[in-house]
Amino acid sequence: MLKSGRLNFLKLNINSRLLYSTNPQLTKKVIGIDLGTTNSAVAYIRDSNDKKSATIIENDEGQRTTPSIVAFDVKSSPQNKDQMKTLVGMAAKRQNAINSENTFFATKRLIGRAFNDKEVQRDMAVMPYKIVKCESNGQAYLSTSNGLIQSPSQIASILLKYLKQTSEEYLGEKVNLAVITVPAYFNDSQRQATKDAGKLAGLNVLRVINEPTAAALSFGIDDKRNNGLIAVYDLGGGTFDISILDIEDGVFEVRATNGDTHLGGEDFDNVIVNYIIDTFIHENPEITREEITKNRETMQRLKDVSERAKIDLSHVKKTFIELPFVYKSKHLRVPMTEEELDNMTLSLINRTIPPVKQALKDADIEPEDIDEVILVGGMTRMPKIRSVVKDLFGKSPNSSVNPDETVALGAAIQGGILSGEIKNVLLLDVTPLTLGIETFGGAFSPLIPRNTTVPVKKTEIFSTGVDGQAGVDIKVFQGERGLVRNNKLIGDLKLTGITPLPKGIPQIYVTFDIDADGIINVSAAEKSSGKQQSITVIPNSGLSEEEIAKLIEEANANRAQDNLIRQRLELISKADIMISDTENLFKRYEKLISSEKEYSNIVEDIKALRQAIKNFKANENDMSIDVNGIKKATDALQGRALKLFQSATKNQQNQGK
């Protein structure tokens, strides 16, 4: 497997060089990506000499964060579903209401999870898109309405590819190194799947770091506050994390981390949606709840308006939720106060308290020992949450940190540490979950406890229980429960080929290795007669190594075609702009030029070109359309229009004489 990995790497490298032959010097710039459940952001280190110069990269719409949404335009390619047009970010979000079954959001909840996972089963009931089971590995996959099936990693890779492209345009150079953040409570499968997504997007993911850790890096990088204990309270769109860090002379050490992978802003939105539906039904008794909940368009509109109300109530005490034509020509106008929202969502807010107390306990710290509390994630703008945090720690949280951007900035800083751009700063992260193996009766036997600093390696010695036994079966689990069935199965190590010996004599050294990304490798070696036999466990994540290699090859093969399509799109866009300009000029000076001989001919040509451009946009993948011809015709037309104007000007001057 290791050899296969190396060959794959070499192949990828060669292809990369060939493709970017015009820019042979690959950049060493590392971007930090905050791949959030609802919003994502990208950052980089602007000035190597200034470790505080981490900066957010704006996307092509000038926004500093991008919605984590990917949509497929099923009408763009009815015959070949593998070449459907994809929309990312705000463009995808805008068309969600009319294409909800093909618009994938919050896929971070599914990444690296098995289909039978109870969280996946719960999401199936509420998500407008379809979640299916991958038959080969039992993972949760996504399906468009026309049957295209993608893994959550592939969906995430489309988003990451967009972010990569945005960064390259912003920086003016190629980008292929990245640090990606994940929730602290992600297990091995989820981390591996996130890394796979980066790989599919053409990024070399140097590190996967925890979101609250990244936030602390961003906050503590300032020399004025690089000592003390920091608590990071991270309540984003989909997950909640709490981490306790100890900062001392540039070394950031995570003391404890805890959280809830299924608690976030969307849960708050759902509470508001339910409230609105209750109010609406109360005002319109003839409408039933089921009628509304089954209507996806209505539900999507209600979610959007709930989110806006939630955001408004972070700034004002009272707001009105207004929505015309909600259902059957009925209108909605519901007043809501900050206090009402607080009462509605108090149970959700209280769910964040036990993880905080557990983290403090794990770190062996009292709340008053914390020097600073940092709030991360859009949900922490809610005043009620800030007051709860204040009560928990006995001090007001630090409000100088931007909750939406600080994670990406921290990821960029970690990238700078890894690339050597930033000196004298080091991050020591910990494992969020306990690693152990199954022992007799299905009991969970811990080997590496949670909050152990990574990278860490532990070796356990096993032996045979039967004379002449030739193999051992070791199941590796991750979690905190006492029985393995309540924990997550990471991998199944089957070691065979043990030299037949009386029982108890063979010594099988099984090494459990958690790397700095929090990803687990398990290898085994039998040391009989000094020989070493090593087997590496393939992590039980969504995609196997072969599948990743195949997908990368497909991406590379399609890269040239994608570039070609992109060029064609650019040409047509320019032609479109030129035709529009010409049309506008003709309209403005119609009286002046309508008497010229060429006028009627040019107008007809303009209409023909407009039709050709329209035809191209409807059939972007049709390679038979002569894009260059359209561009040349447009250029010629512009020349003719110019001559027409010159001629008209002369005639006017002559008439003046």
């Binding site: 070394v251 890894l418 004298n424 080091l426 990278p455 010695i461 700095a516």
Partner: protein, 295 residues
């Protein structure tokens, strides 16, 4: 004799238990073995971590020290230090846990076991410091076992003697009301010993004419003191010699008893044959021996 295996099994079990190291001990041995192999026999965790106060460092100092070392040796700073950092991390974890640190300090002071594949892993090249306590415990167990076995033997011997007496009384035709002379022969050619059944008691007539009572009460009862006394080294030889003599004596009785039991079925025929002779009463014992009445 089979009873002696039980203490042996117990001893084996105890020995086995005493040499099965715990997981944390094995981990400590492995890491110590690795750094000793790489840096020399004098290396230990405290030196390996470059602790200024070595073994006098507090837990907090050890934890802070890892942070300081991380600035230089963390793989994020230099990938070639990956293995080194893993060892530093593990050593710090062991010393940061007070109970694990005590284990480490104990072996650091008393010596670590060596590693040998063919001996099943880590083993001690010299006696383990706790061995004396272990040996004492084994000794106690052995003596308790011996005590139990001696009780069993006592009961067995007693029942054999009682059986012999019972068979002699069967030949007493006075029904315990008079004196009956008997002759006990090992075989036909044996001159035989004289036995007297007087008022239901059986006596052996010695060559000098004196009589010795045969009774199970003459056996020594087993007691704990006998076992404990055995522990005195100076008495070991004597006790063994004495026990051997006693055992030899008892073996004769045991042999006799077996012979009696083995010939029960021949009793009827020989009695008839004896009664044919005139002038002298002849009685056949169950084991084939003949007792003649004296006139």
């Amino acid at each position: 004799m089979n009873g002696y295996w039980k203490p042996a099994l117990v001893v084996l079990g105890l020995v086995s238990l005493s040499y099965a190291f715990t997981t944390i001990e094995t981990e400590i041995f492995q890491l110590q073995n690795e750094i000793s192999t790489k840096y020399g026999p004098d290396m230990n965790f405290y030196k390996f971590l470059k602790l200024p106060k070595l073994q006098n460092s507090s837990t907090k100092e050890i934890t802070k020290n890892l942070r300081k070392l991380s600035k230089k040796y963390h793989p994020d700073k230099n990938p070639k230090y990956r293995k080194l950092y893993e060892r530093l991390n593990l050593a710090t974890q062991i010393l940061s846990n007070s109970s694990n640190r005590k284990i480490y300090d104990y072996y650091l002071q008393n010596g670590f076991p060596n590693y040998d594949f063919h001996k099943g892993g880590f083993y001690f090249s010299r006696m383990k410091p706790k061995t004396w306590f272990l040996l004492a415990f084994i000794w106690i167990v052995v003596n308790i076992g011996q005590y139990i076995i001696s009780i069993i033997q006592y009961r067995s011997q007693r029942s054999r003697i009682e059986n012999f007496i019972s068979q002699c009384k069967q030949q007493d035709d006075t029904n315990g009301l008079g004196v009956k002379q008997l002759t006990f022969k090992q075989h036909e050619k044996d001159e035989g010993k004289s036995l007297v059944v007087r008022f239901s008691d059986v006596y052996v007539v010695e060559p000098d004419g004196s009589e010795t009572l045969i009774s199970p009460d003459t056996l020594d009862k087993p007691s704990v003191k006998n076992c404990l006394f055995w522990r005195i080294p100076a008495s070991v030889w004597n006790m063994t010699f004495g026990k051997s003599v006693g055992s030899a004596g008892k073996e004769e009785i045991i042999t006799d008893s077996k012979k009696y039991d083995g010939n029960q079925t021949k009793k009827g025929n020989k009695v008839k044959k004896g009664s044919a002779k005139k002038g002298q009463k002849k009685m056949e014992l169950p084991n084939g021996k003949v007792i003649y009445s004296r006139k």
